[in-house]
Subunit: 202 residues, 2 copies
């Protein structure tokens, strides 16, 4: 799991190198820019395959693509976003996710004042229609940008119609069957960690 959390970072740095037209890189060079030890980089990559070549290093483009595949970025994902507040809109508006293959197909909100409003190309739909939409549109991922209250109930509904993954921004640990993947983004926990580390500095 520690390795997995590093994979997106490898992917990002390799993408940067690709943008700079750099074609090969050694674990030592990558270590200098990414900050992990060269040994760890070689170990990490070798968990998934022998992508390098002795005496040469790694081909940047090939490695970028391999890591993309490992991360599951070689396919497209259909997503819906529930909770069209500021945070939800920020995520819906961010073009980077679509470029990476994650397409938000609809926005939902429970607030009658929000329903019908247009955000980018999307009209905000009624949360009551989530189940039907998921069934009819092959939705893989639900992005939950709602408050803590009601989050577990919503998760239950999503699970019931066969959602495979939940990207959860609500500050609660959702209980779902083990085959459903939940990835949490907890901003409060992140901020509190910052606060702890700032204290340590004194």
């Amino acid at each position: 799991m520690a390795v997995i959390r590093r994979l997106p970072k490898y992917h990002r740095y390799l993408g940067d190198l690709l943008d700079k037209d750099i074609q090969r890189i050694s674990s030592k060079e990558l270590s200098d820019i990414i900050g992990f030890t060269a040994s760890q980089i070689r170990q990490d990559l070798n968990n998934f395959g022998g992508f390098g070549q002795q005496g040469y290093g790694y081909n940047v483009e090939a490695l970028f693509n391999e890591i993309g595949k490992i991360l599951g970025l070689d396919r497209e994902y259909n997503a819906i976003l529930i909770g069209a507040g500021n945070l939800g809109q920020a995520i819906a508006n961010y073009s980077g996710f679509r470029k990476a293959g994650f397409e938000i197909k609809a926005l939902f909100d429970a607030n009658p004042k929000m329903i019908g409003l247009k955000i980018r190309e999307f009209e905000i739909l009624d949360s009551d229609d989530i189940e039907n939409f998921i069934k009819n549109n092959k939705i893989d991922i639900a992005i939950m940008c709602i408050p803590k209250n009601g989050a577990q109930e919503l998760a239950n509904r999503l699970v019931n119609v066969g959602i495979k993954g939940i990207w959860n921004f609500a500050p609660i640990d959702l209980e779902v069957p083990q085959q459903v993947i939940v990835e949490n983004v907890n901003l409060t926990e992140s901020l509190f960690t910052l606060s702890y580390l700032m204290k340590e500095e004194q």
Copy 2:
């Protein structure tokens, strides 16, 4: 560091227990709701002090307060937020941070179209004025909600006027002197991890 990342979660669960007027809890009971082993909970807490009592367990309120202190939540922090787009506005509008002692004192943006607009109680200020504002308002934390481009330059400016902590939402690893604390929130890395784990399930 592994322990530190768990502290905010202890804090959150203890807050929930407090809301339910639960006064005492054993490591075993906490284990059942939080999902860490009872042994790990006792180890974690003992890193910071003997907060429990044999035969009784832990006093929920006392432990909540102790962990709050450890996290540095027993004081107030002044923050500014740079980049008043959707994400920036979402963070500025979230009342939970203020309740925890993190007060956003001003919003900044580099886009002339944004400058002068009102978000909640705040008028969006010109990014050029960041340095003066930090100096005159005892700002501890800068929240960076800007794109990758320009993020390092902004960080340099913040460091130059003595910022102590940066909560960074830009998808880049900032280089700062070691006494400056950076906490990153990288949404793309989180999403890619979800995608990886969904693939694993197949």
